[in-house]
Amino acid sequence: MAQPQKPQRRREPEIPVAPVALDKKGDALLALLPEVFEAFDVEFGAAVDEVVVTAKPQDVPAICRLAKEDPRLDLTYLRCLSVVDYEERLEVSYHLFSLDKRHKMVLKASVPPDEPFVPSIVSIWRGADWFEREGHDLFGVVFQGHPNLAPLLLYEGFEGFPGRRSFPFHEYNEY
């Protein structure tokens, strides 16, 4: 009599995490940061080759101004401002770079998707203007204090936030 075969259980493969590989400048910056941002409630970390500073949304403008004006950091160039939708929270990332010292830092702030309020940094970097408008357009993040949050990429009267994960986009079937 043949023995009944055990049903084979498929195990979900473990997802590897990208290792942190900071260079010398990154290590030096990470060592320096707690001293510079003493006054703020921030957390320090690293993602692949960049130093990550996680802050409260209301502290963002003060931290940005300090990062730009403190001669030890000298992060004068705002490379990118992006919003990532993690469903339970919206994360705003500010990628900063120092043109003289050539080190880089990411500032992050998370907001709940139903109350997405982040203070604007247009008064610090004028280049943040369109990036913030795009973030408002596609993700619905309200950058408080921005002079003009009119739609940039979408047309007037568009409903919904197409950047968010909950916005459907593959409404057709492939055959």
Binding site: A18, E50, C80, V84, W125, R126, A128, W130, L152, L153
Partner: protein
């Protein structure tokens, strides 16, 4: 053009609101800008973009990593290979993947060729913008030669889909070296010819010198990058400040301007073409036979994490912010397009400029609407 009259507080002057675009030929795509004019001067300018918005970033979230490359081709549609390279480098950085030397060399050679092709297009179109008809014929002739070479290598003139995560689709064709030598001969003469034809032309100088200047501090403040930033006297090139791929193996100069005006922005590009040719020559010398693809599984699955990769595209700092959740599709792709940031400075550049110079200034920052609107 539609003209509306709008009385202002001062009773003696009238601001005219003039709409330019979105189908105006000198806007280089579908771009609209509303100008408020007092006499011959522009008082205020308000750019409107988004006519070409295809939701590329959102589309990336629904495609496999290998399929996303085709979407990146369509961002900056005159320097496709540079966009492909940026995305592949981002994925490779996340996976900590070693790339075979030969693949890196081929990438650099093709990307620098693409830079020359893109600048040649700028050269021709900028001639048209300033009222010179001939340069476009010379610019397009050189660009066409480069694209013919691209066709023999990748099979397509524009949407190449050639650079892959971990290497390249396939190796170069057998007759690449003689074809390349022939092309370089043509290009060297072509660039000098173009330079002689337009750069020191008296009328061209009168139309561009001292027009639309921007200071280095303002340029950094606005996030302006690439030739427009270097023309303002700031030495910043991603190939130097954060060398990616194998750019640290070559010796090349970075042209920097003095006044940040239209002529400087133009001439920085002409000089960049010479430097690109020098890089290509060095790369052709150093390149050795070998594999062009690293050992990879069929489906790319980068580890969980996020990375920001920036490269120097012909227009400036092209950044890719890639968030991976460990699956075979990216969780979020954010493209930091250089033209998008450069275009923001337009309001600043237009202020107090003459209406007749508007097209000259817009042409000098060399926007591609494909990457502005994404």
């Amino acid at each position: 053009m539609q003209v509306q009259r709008q009385p202002t507080q001062q009773a003696d002057t009238i601001d005219l609101m003039v709409n330019m675009g979105p189908q105006h030929p000198s806007t280089h795509g579908v771009f609209r800008v509303v100008l408020w004019i007092d006499g011959e001067r522009i008082v205020r300018a308000e750019p409107h973009i988004g006519y070409l918005h295809r939701g590329s970033e959102k589309l990336c979230e629904g495609e496999l990593y290998s399929q996303v490359i085709t979407l990146f081709d369509r961002l900056d549609y005159v320097s496709n290979l540079n966009c492909e390279l940026a995305f592949c480098l981002a994925v490779e950085k996340l996976m900590a993947l070693e790339i075979p030397d030969r693949a890196s060399y081929i990438r650099v050679i093709l990307c620098e060729l693409n830079r020359i092709a893109s600048h040649m297009l700028f050269y021709g179109v900028y001639g048209l913008d300033t009222g010179a008809m001939t340069p476009i014929l010379y610019g397009f002739r050189e660009r066409e030669r480069i694209q013919a070479l691209f066709e023999t290598v990748t099979g397509a003139r524009m949407m190449h889909n050639y650079i892959r995560v971990g290497g390249l689709r396939h190796d170069l064709p057998e007759d690449f070296v003689p074809k390349m030598a022939e092309l370089m001969d043509h290009l060297k003469r072509g660039v000098e010819e173009c330079d002689d034809l337009l750069s020191n032309n008296e009328m061209f100088i009168a139309r561009t010198k001292g027009i639309g200047p921007i200071s280095g501090e303002d340029a950094i403040e606005f996030g302006v990058t690439g030739p427009a930033l270097r023309a303002a006297g700031v030495l910043e090139d991603v190939r130097i400040s954060e060398p990616y791929s194998i750019y640290d193996r070559f010796e090349f100069g970075i042209p920097v301007g003095t006044y940040g005006d239209c002529w400087d922005r133009y001439y920085v590009r002409i000089e960049e073409m010479r430097q690109s040719m020098s890089i290509i020559e060095q790369a052709m010398e150093q390149m050795e036979p070998g594999p062009t693809v690293s050992a990879l599984r069929r489906i790319t699955r980068p580890p969980k994490g996020e990375t920001y990769m920036r490269t120097e595209s012909p227009r400036g700092d092209f950044g890719v912010f890639l968030v991976s959740d460990g699956s075979d599709k990216p969780y979020r792709v954010k493209v930091r397009a250089p033209s998008f940031a450069n275009l923001q400075a337009l309001q600043h550049l237009f202020r107090n400029a003459y209406v007749a110079d508007a097209v000259v200034i817009l042409g000098s920052i060399d926007i591609i609407l494909g990457e502005v609107d994404r």
